[in-house]
Amino acid sequence: MSARPNIDVSNLPTFAFGHRPLTWWCTWSLILMEGGMFVVLFATYFFLRTPVPDWPPGVNYPRLFWGTVNLVVILLSCVPNHWAKKAAEGLDLRGVRLWLLVMIGFALAATVIRFVEFGYLNCRWDQNAYGSVVWVSMGAHLLHLVTDLLDTIVLLALFVIGPIEGKRFVDASENALYWYFVVALWVPLYVVIYWVPRWM
């Protein structure tokens, strides 16, 4: 009917990795908005910190041990996470299954350690504004740990039960990307919670 060629898209791929699929945009949207939330959280922390002569106010410095342990665990998790992402992008079903399992282990460990961390904190959330902001920031990160943990579990279940789809590998890749974000959140958070009181 037409003189000009129509665009036939029937041979286009149905999934891809990187910034091409829609999921990537969704993940980055999540990262952006939650990252924004954490930026505000840091701003709150320093806003509250500024007028106070002694920080933390009226309590000791937070003890470093468990926070640091968690930092190490979370940083170490980048390695299996890298492999998980690699495996997903290589459509390596067994690799994906394996590394997702390992990642579940890491996320679980980090979550458990987080609860221990709460137990060792230097004050309660209802003691003063310092306690509030510290508890809530750690709680917010815990929420990310838990949601990513659940997410990973479901993903693994999908890879075990099936059906195996191409976009499932994309999901696994995006899941790994999101975990990097969770890791990247904890590093400044760790510094702010455990070291800023000592430095500033």
């Binding site: 002569p53 002694d54 106010p57 009226g58 003063n128």
Partner: protein, 615 residues
């Protein structure tokens, strides 16, 4: 023996203090902890002074007019004190905090209980038996206006009568022999929040009494009642116009800040002095040579300093008055515009010590603000003021102006929690009286190691209800969580010689004897004998309840030396136990509960007299 003791001291103590010593100008290492000679510090002469023959009696809570709580008895000494045993005990039947010192007159012991202020006369010849009992039946409602438990700090004996105060603001005189009431005078009004908890002192036929209620918006006063009839001889307020404060032409304060006309009015917002506190619920000393009485006035009301701009004279002041007329001789305001409830009611130890090479008649005051003030007792000049406790809120006293320098960021205000204020509201040392031994030249200070968070809130004056306007939370000061300390202080060298840490605030008084033993009790119920020179705990005994009383030392009818102490935890610090308070509220009892949450695990209430002697 004495030589070996010196060597020991040299090694054990002198070594430890040599590094920081500034008193061993003669170069002798052993000289550091010990004054040059016992004679260098001489007690003032007076009716009850140690200069006279020690008669083994205990006629007033402070033992003598100089308030040194030094007993010349030496049967019990640092060596044998470890053998002390209970001689006898006596239950008072009252459960509140027992802060009183028993009196010993002849072969009778007189014990005043907290509210309901029962006076027991106990026969020392038949230990523990009650000769007679006097019940003044104070108004029960007075319990509602007693800020910090229903305590009584003791009675005084003179002219065959026992004088003491009841919680409902009456002073009574009781015939010491028969227990019959001689007179009873109402000195204050509980409907305005006035109570009386202090121990009176009898000077030249006059009973000196002051009121409590600084937390209720009362107006502080001291009055003299005729010992014979209970009639008011003179009455001096601690705030208001000069005529009320008995400030006349003889009034010569040393510092410019305390000079001026009607400062008791002009340093207050209009009419605030009428409800501004400045009570006299602590100790009064008397110098017969100068014929002056010395006392400190309590905190201004309310606690929230925003509600009362100005210096708030004459609260938190040391005041010297003529004993006969009450006319003020000098005054020194220790804490102008008090920020932290640091009453100035602590005892004044009247001693003579060398200062800059010359003997001076001074009064030594371990103050609530954490400094030991050495003040010339004739002029009111502050000779030295050195801290004996951990301080964060102040930076020292300027001896030129007499000003206490505050740390700006620790100044409290309305609606703002200021943290880590040390010392806390009870101060570095509260009412618990210290003792001075002319033999060691040391002042033995029972005190606290507490800090606090403080928030000023709007205070509403409603007569008969608390007028505080502050939320307070106290907690242990720096260290391992210990909240009490017992410090031996060298007033000449102006430094601590030794220090004992206690789990709870040391809320009991101290006594020191010629046997070089210091006695004090702890709130977890230990009565302790300590070597006065080394601070070594020689002996301790767990009594029934926490101790907040004042130990006394006397010679029994059998000629033996006895030590007596009332146990029965309570007071401000022990209110959590005495009042059955809830530890979940750290602000309870004006914030003291915050620091005392574990006291119920260590002590229960119950009043009991314990008398100890060597077997």
């Amino acid at each position: 023996m004495r030589m070996s003791w010196r060597v020991l001291l040299c090694f054990c103590v002198g070594f430890a203090f040599a590094a920081c010593s500034n008193a061993n100008k003669d170069g002798g290492p052993a000289a550091a902890p010990q004054p040059k000679s016992p004679q260098a510090t001489r007690l003032p002469t007076g009716a009850q002074s140690a200069g006279e023959q020690e008669d083994g009696q205990w006629l007033m809570p402070a033992k003598n007019y100089a308030s040194t709580r030094f007993s010349g008895l030496n049967e019990i000494n640092a060596e044998n004190a470890k053998a002390l045993k209970v001689a006898w005990t006596f239950s008072t039947g009252v459960n509140r905090g027992h802060e009183a010192a028993p009196l010993v007159v002849g072969d009778t012991m007189y014990v005043v209980t907290p509210y309901p202020n029962i006076l027991y006369a106990l026969d020392l010849k038949n230990p523990g038996s009650v000769k007679w009992k006097y019940e003044p039946d104070p108004a029960a409602a007075a319990q509602g206006v007693a800020c910090c438990d229903l305590v009584n700090r003791g009675a005084a004996f003179a002219d065959g009568k026992i004088f003491y105060n009841t919680l409902d603001a009456h002073t009574v005189a009781v015939d010491a022999a028969t227990g019959k009431e001689v007179w009873k005078t109402q000195v204050g009004d509980i409907n305005k929040g006035e109570t009386v908890t202090m121990a009176p002192i009898v000077v030249k036929g006059k009973v000196l009494v002051g009121n409590s209620g600084g937390e209720f918006g009362v107006r502080g006063w001291i009055q003299a009642l005729g010992a014979a009839d209970g009639k008011v001889v003179w009455k001096a307020y601690n705030a208001g116009p000069d005529s009320d404060v008995l400030i006349g032409p003889d009034f010569k304060p040393f510092y410019a800040k305390d000079q001026g006309k009607d400062l008791g009015v002009s340093t207050w917002p209009p009419d605030a002095w009428k409800i501004g506190g400045g009570t006299v619920w602590g100790w009064i000393s008397y110098d017969p040579d100068l014929n002056l009485i010395y006392y400190g006035s309590g905190n201004p009301g309310p606690w929230n300093p925003d509600a009362r701009p100005g210096d708030n004279k004459w609260t938190c002041s040391v005041i010297a008055r003529d004993a006969d007329t009450g006319a003020a001789k000098w005054a020194y305001q220790v804490g102008p515009h008090d920020l932290y409830d640091w009453d100035g009611i602590n005892e004044s130890l009247l001693v003579e010590i060398p200062f800059n090479g010359q003997q001076r008649k001074v009064l030594v005051r371990p103050e609530r603000d954490g400094y030991v003030y050495v003040i010339d007792r004739a002029t009111g000049e502050v000779l030295s003021a050195e801290p004996f406790a951990h301080l964060t809120a102040t930076k020292g006293v300027d001896l030129k102006t007499g000003e206490l320098a505050h740390v700006e960021e620790k100044k409290p205000g309305t609606g703002k929690v200021v943290r880590d204020i040390c010392p806390a509201a009870p101060g570095a040392k509260d009412w618990e009286p210290s003792a001075f031994s002319p033999q060691t030249g040391l002042v033995y200070i029972p005190h606290q190691n507490l800090c606090m968070d403080f928030e000023g809130v709007e205070a509403n004056y409603i007569a008969g209800t608390p007028y505080v306007g502050a939320n307070v939370k106290m907690y242990a000061g720096p260290g391992d969580g210990h909240r009490g300390e017992f410090t031996a202080w060298d007033p000449v060298a102006q430094r601590a010689v030794w220090k004992i840490n206690e789990r709870f605030p040391v809320w009991s008084g101290a006594v020191v004897t010629a046997g070089d033993v210091v006695f004090y009790g702890t709130m977890d119920g230990y009565f302790k004998a300590v070597n006065a020179r080394t601070g070594e705990v020689v002996w301790q005994f767990k009594v029934g309840s926490g101790i907040i009383g004042q130990p006394v030392v006397y010679k029994g009818p059998d000629g033996k030396e006895y030590v007596a102490i009332l146990s029965g935890v309570g007071g401000w610090s022990g209110a959590i136990v005495a009042g059955g308070l809830d530890p979940r509220d750290p602000t309870a009892a004006l914030g003291y509960v915050g620091a005392m949450g574990d006291l119920p695990d260590y002590s229960t209430k119950g009043g009991m007299l314990y008398v100890f002697s060597l077997p």
